[in-house]
């Protein structure tokens, strides 16, 4: 909280001095976590730093960290908008409604909301096709796991997370049709203790590979302690498990932030729904480590194929969890279904919370 206040007053100070350097475009960021969380928020902050380094004096970046999702977020976004930000990135799913509300009050400010689905004339949504990376992770899990059971530590039952679970399982089943996953919901994006407990519970119940859709490195650490393999999330988590991490889905927001800021500078910014993936470089895979060479090679080949679109994780035949047909042979899911995904595919050993 104190840091939050410090950041605010720093932002105020900067906005006062900004009058002198007229040319600088002010770009602001709202973070749900700490910029050094080792995961989600850190990836966004690295993107911000890339943006700053790319434009140098021509942009001024400001961020607020540890802003809780909810009413506080709306006030924080408004304060940013009022302080002269021309472009505001709100970097968490839960900032969606607050962003839309603030955007109505500040029609001249451009807003970009990460991972949401509501747009307006001055609100763009941007997202990454994380599921492409999860499909590759799943394939690796299917090859490396001896028991054929992976543990999945999940945060909240929103479409993005469900997509990830499905893609991971489909990837694993592409090499091992009997592969199953156990899912534990911790109902938090960030609680190292709870994430570690979930990891222990899953390992105690016999999974021999771990993946997570939460932000701390605690599950990686538990996996290292217990001598099983795991996948990193959002940032490269190799430091938490040098002998443990197989790969990680690394969010690479920098190029996108540069592109959009350039658009604001040029006056060509338009509202859109951006959903890029491996091909555009918004999603990258951490080096493939701690696995046999042939699996590594398979992963690299698959990555190339997913990037070119030769392989689409959601290509039929795929059944829903209850056995009914979702996609027929050769049929490919449309983006709308993926963005609103609220069902499991066949083989997930879990009841999806509503």
């Amino acid at each position: 909280m104190k840091k939050y206040i410090l950041a605010m007053s720093a932002a105020a100070l900067i906005s006062m001095t900004a009058g002198a350097a007229q040319a600088a475009t002010k770009v602001c960021f709202l973070y749900v976590g700490s910029k050094t969380d080792g995961g989600w928020t850190q990836a966004h902050d690295i993107g911000r730093q890339e943006l700053q380094n790319h434009f140098g004096d021509k942009v001024e970046t400001v961020y607020l960290e540890n802003v809780p999702e909810g009413p506080d977020a709306e006030r924080a976004i408004e304060r940013l908008a009022r302080s002269g930000c021309e472009l505001v990135f709100t970097t968490s799913f839960g900032f969606m409604d607050p962003t839309i509300k603030a955007a109505e009050k500040f029609p001249d400010v451009k807003f970009e909301h990460a991972t949401g689905y509501k747009t307006a004339d001055n609100v763009t949504t941007y997202n990454s096709r994380f599921y492409q990376g999860r499909y590759i992770s799943g394939m690796i899990a299917g090859k490396v796991s001896e028991k054929g059971v992976a543990g999945y530590i999940a945060s909240f039952p929103i479409p993005e997370v469900v997509q990830g679970i499905n893609a991971f399982l489909l990837g694993a089943q592409s090499v091992n049709p009997d592969f199953t996953i156990k899912v534990v919901w911790v109902n938090s994006w960030f609680d190292p203790g709870k994430e570690a407990d979930a990891a222990k519970a899953l390992i105690d119940q016999g999974v021999d590979i771990l993946t997570q859709h939460t932000d701390s490195t605690a599950p990686m650490q538990v996996a290292a302690e217990r001598g099983i393999k795991a996948f990193g999330q959002a940032s490269d988590m190799i430091e938490a498990g040098p002998e443990t991490q197989l790969t990680a889905i690394v969010d690479t927001w920098g190029p996108y932030y540069i592109k959009r800021t350039q658009a604001v500078m040029d006056g060509t910014w338009e509202s859109l729904s951006s959903w890029d993936g491996l091909a555009e470089g918004i999603l990258t895979m951490a080096p493939y480590t701690n696995m046999p060479d042939d699996v590594k090679q398979m992963a690299e080949e698959l990555e190339a194929k997913v990037a070119t679109g030769e392989v689409n994780p959601f290509t039929g035949p795929i059944n829903k969890q209850d056995g009914s047909v979702w996609l027929k042979e050769g049929e490919v899911s449309d983006d709308g279904t993926l963005l609103g995904m609220n069902f499991y595919v066949e083989g997930v050993d879990d009841q999806l919370p509503n």
Partner: protein, 306 residues
């Protein structure tokens, strides 16, 4: 190690920080002081314990410094509420907010670094008892301290003269003062003890539970500890039971999910809190007994009349 043992071990690790923070707060509240700064003291203890352990390479020194930091930090609360007689609720809350911010600054350069874990110490002979040996006698030092503290505090409060005086101060500080008992001094010591316990709980989080430092890693455990003190109706053994019950339900629900039990996970996540409320209702049925255990002067400032 079989599944049951593994589960119990996880429960013990999850319950220990709650237990430590709660037993410290219990002594503070028994002396009539309500310190809502537990969360802040835990996180400060965690930040310093991690930093010291990392820089010195000695986790024991880290744990010690974590406890000392908690005690030192609580002195700030003590000075404000006991010497300057400020409002205890407001002061405690600001201690929490200050602790969360300050710890973030202390820990900033340590984020993402591998921690120095406290290793288990196997007690000879006892640790080879089947089943319970590995659970009770092959643990880290903070676990042993937490159990010793429960019985130590229980003995101190109800079997020693000093403990009787402390309880008397909590029940009626004016009478205790009139009898010549040093009210302020005793409360200072109690507050510092509470701080040291919370600091040690923080050390457990970053040296045992998840050997790493991240901001806000206490994630609300200080508040649960505060609730546990009321839950245990200010009695150490009930606090012990409460902390382990809470830990058991927390871990149990994760296992239920992993087993694929068809209960909504949001309900399972709320279960530990629901269980706490249910037990709380059950044990407060006897109103007279509850009143007898509640420190009558809890949260009231004391100004000596002469």
């Amino acid at each position: 190690m079989d599944l049951t043992q593994a589960v119990i071990l996880t429960i013990m690790t999850a319950a220990t920080p709650l237990l430590l923070a709660a037993i410290g707060e219990l002594v503070v509240e028994r002396s009539g002081v309500l310190n809502l700064g537990v969360e802040g003291m835990i996180i400060m203890g965690a930040a310093v314990a991690f930093a010291v352990a990392k820089l010195s390479g000695n986790p024991y020194l880290g744990a010690l410094c974590g406890a000392l930091t908690g005690a030192a930090f609580s002195l700030l609360f003590g000075f404000l509420t006991l010497t300057l007689v400020t409002n205890q609720v407001a002061t405690g809350l600001s201690l929490t907010i200050l602790g969360l911010g300050l710890s973030g600054m202390i820990g900033e350069s340590f984020v993402g670094q591998a921690g120095v874990p406290l290793n288990e110490i196997a007690i000879p002979v006892l640790s080879s008892i089947p089943f319970i040996g590995p659970l009770l006698f092959n643990q880290d030092i903070i676990f042993y301290i937490s159990i010793l503290l429960i019985f130590g505090v229980s003995w101190f409060l109800f079997r020693t003269r000093a403990g009787l005086r402390l309880r008397a101060i909590g029940d009626n500080h004016h009478s205790a003062h009139a009898l010549g008992t040093p009210v302020i001094r005793t409360r200072y010591l109690a507050v510092m003890f509470g701080g040291a316990c919370a600091g040690l709980a923080g050390a457990q989080l970053c040296l045992v539970y998840t050997p790493q430092w991240v901001e806000n890693m206490s994630a609300g455990r200080g508040w649960i500890a505060l609730a546990l003190v009321v839950f245990g109706s200010w009695r150490p053994l009930r606090v012990l039971a409460g902390a382990y019950l809470f830990g058991a339900v927390t871990i149990g629900q994760l296992h239920a999910q992993a087993l694929g039990v068809a209960i909504p996970s949001q309900f399972l996540s709320a279960l530990p809190y629901l269980a706490t409320i249910v037990v709380l209702v059950l044990i407060s049925r006897n109103r007279r007994l509850t009143l007898m255990n509640t420190p009558a002067c809890l949260g009231q400032g004391f100004v000596p009349d002469r």
